[in-house]
């Protein structure tokens, strides 16, 4: 490996070690939370008409919960790592190292993707006793997972770079990530909404992430899969472009 490649793999490994050392907090806890949602909503909504033909409510709910958890964890992984390093002051070790913006970006995103993969797999495994999930379009499933987790990981990096204290990250989480993920069709099909909220949902990027991911399982979705892929890809590219611009210029990182 070249020195640059060693630098990149070291940063990737370090970011993985960071969340791995607190696995109960970074993987187990979100899985437990999502399971609680599943139990409560599946019980409360039992007996309702299938959302899509042949798809019961519990089956409908699981992919949405998985994607919601992925979205929240991708954002949390990069934003908390960067913010913590900034506040503790140890980001200087990275800033003084011969690593370029692309290596920073790829390592942070890579570690977030790994955490999201663990979370998603753990969630799907623990729901096996409750639901049977078909896999209709595996490529769409993987593409939607990677684009969605990548988008939120990049957005988490932006938040981590901008934030000067943990309060700022909490603001991003409480007023952006959580409301948009709850109002994105995790618990319902947007066709069940009044016309105004139906239209408003189409301006929520998380809606396309969850809808496209759900399509991968059932082959049914609220909007065509192409729309979901394109909107999510656009969000990913926008977040990536902003994040790389910040890393290249040293925005909020270099005085």
């Amino acid at each position: 490996m070249t020195p640059d490649q060693i630098g990149f793999t070291t940063l990737l490994r370090k970011e993985v070690m960071r969340f791995w050392s607190v696995l109960g907090q970074t993987v187990t806890a979100p899985v437990v939370t999502a399971l609680l949602y599943l139990l409560v909503f599946a019980q409360a909504m039992q007996g309702r008409a299938p959302v899509y033909p042949g798809v019961g409510y519990t089956e409908f709910l699981v992919p949405g919960l998985v994607m919601m958890t992925v979205i929240q964890n991708a954002f949390a992984n990069t934003s908390s790592s960067l913010t913590q390093s900034k506040i503790m002051g140890n980001l200087v070790f990275l800033q003084m190292a011969p690593l370029g913006p692309l290596e920073w970006f790829a390592a942070y995103i890579g570690a977030a993707l790994l955490r999201c993969t663990l979370v998603a797999c753990a969630m799907l495994l623990v729901t096996i006793p409750f639901v049977h999930l078909p896999i209709h379009a595996p490529i769409a499933l993987i593409v939607m997972f990677l684009l969605s987790a990548g988008s939120l990981a990049a957005f988490g990096m932006i938040a981590g770079i901008v934030a000067e204290k943990f309060d700022h990250i909490a603001t991003f989480t409480n007023f952006f990530i959580t409301p948009l993920s709850f109002l994105s069709g995790v618990f319902y099909s947007v066709h069940a909404l009044p016309p105004l909220w139906f239209k408003a949902s189409h301006f929520n990027p998380f809606f396309y992430m969850i809808d496209g991911f759900r399509y991968g399982f059932f082959g049914h979705a609220d909007v065509p899969i192409v729309h979901s892929v394109l909107w999510t890809a656009a969000f990913f590219m926008l977040a990536t472009a902003v994040c790389l611009w910040m890393l290249v210029t040293g925005y909020k990182l270099k005085r």
């Binding site: 630098g7 370090k14 503790m88 140890n90 070790f93 003084m96 011969p98 005085r255």
Partner: protein, 325 residues
């Protein structure tokens, strides 16, 4: 490791070359066109009172801060255009006690080596540093569990994991006990003997006087002086005379303007060597019928020169730095 990789530029003049560096923070100009070279193999001190711009300059050299104007190169590699090569040749010990709480000491050092492109071949050197810095017993202890002095030593090890030929230590002995200070001095001297260029900032001027062959003093963002240490000390045309007068006698009026202070009932007089020889003071006392109980002379040290050039005492800065850490 990087110590074996020669820079691509042909025979660079300086280990660090600083050219017209300015840094403005809004209306405040922290650096006002600083230019100087640090030669390969030098033990160089960068001194100055608090707010002189030392840390800003070091941050610019290490890539933490953008210069508003000017350029810096490390062994011929520009720190902006060719930042990867420049950073591989440079190790920096930051002033603040920063650490990553997620990792153990040895893991942290291995990660740091990896950032610089050093794989497992760096591990024996890491173990050697742990030994020499008396950290072997703490190698598998979390960074969180270390004392301040130990964290300081880990910072030194982190700066050296990739065996850089140029090392900057930003107040490495601020707030540490005497034993650790001496260990750090010995370690830095060893590094220098092995050919490493060492740049030191410190508020302990005896440290700079003892270790460094050349000294730059920054004041209000500009270089007040940059000279070999001996030359800098010789430029001070004064000598200090401390006298204790017998029976509580008063100093003759003619000598009073020379008094700079009082230490343990003794008066300290600052004598300009060519104008007021020591003998003239003794003559004046004898003529006034005053007996001397005790007498002591001392040569000016770096602290005297520092005060003369900057109007500040470095000891005040040392107290601040010690309190901060």
């Amino acid at each position: 490791m990087t110590s074996t990789s020669a820079p691509t530029a042909a025979a660079p003049a300086g280990a660090i070359e600083i050219r017209g560096v300015r840094k403005r923070y809004g209306a405040l100009e922290a650096l006002r066109g600083v230019s100087f070279d640090i030669r390969p193999g030098e033990f160089f001190a960068l001194l100055g009172p608090n707010g002189a711009g030392k840390s800003t300059l070091i941050s610019i050299i290490s890539g933490l801060v953008h210069a508003t104007e000017g350029s810096v190169s490390v062994l011929g590699h520009d720190t902006v255009r060719d930042y990867r090569a420049a950073r591989r040749l440079l190790g920096v010990v930051p002033q603040e006690l920063v650490f990553d709480p997620f990792f153990k000491v040895r893991d942290m050092l291995r990660i740091q080596a990896g950032y610089y492109g050093c794989g497992k071949q760096a591990w024996p050197w890491i173990d050697e540093m742990l030994e020499r810095l008396d950290l072997s017993a703490k190698a598998d202890v979390s960074m969180r569990a270390l004392s301040g002095g130990m964290k300081r030593r880990v910072l030194i090890a982190q700066a050296l994991v990739h065996k850089p030929p140029v090392v900057i230590l930003d107040e490495p002995t601020a707030g540490v006990d005497v034993e650790l200070r001496r260990m750090t001095w010995a370690f830095m001297s060893d590094l220098h003997r092995q050919g490493t260029t060492v740049v030191l900032t410190t508020h302990y001027l005896e440290e700079a006087q003892e270790l460094c062959s050349r000294i730059a003093i920054l004041d209000r963002g500009s270089v007040a002086v940059i000279e070999p240490t001996r030359q800098l000390l010789a430029r001070h045309p004064y000598r200090f005379l401390r006298i204790k007068l017998a029976g509580g006698a008063q100093l003759p009026d003619a000598l009073r303007p020379l008094v700079t202070g009082e230490v343990n009932d003794a008066l300290e007089l600052k004598l300009e060597t060519r104008v007021t020889p020591i003998g003239s003071v003794f003559d004046a006392l004898r003529n006034a019928g005053i007996a001397i109980e005790d007498v002591h002379t001392r040569e000016p040290d770096l602290e005297d020169i520092f005060i003369e050039l900057t109007g500040h005492s470095a000891k005040a800065g040392a107290a601040t730095a010690g309190a901060a850490t």
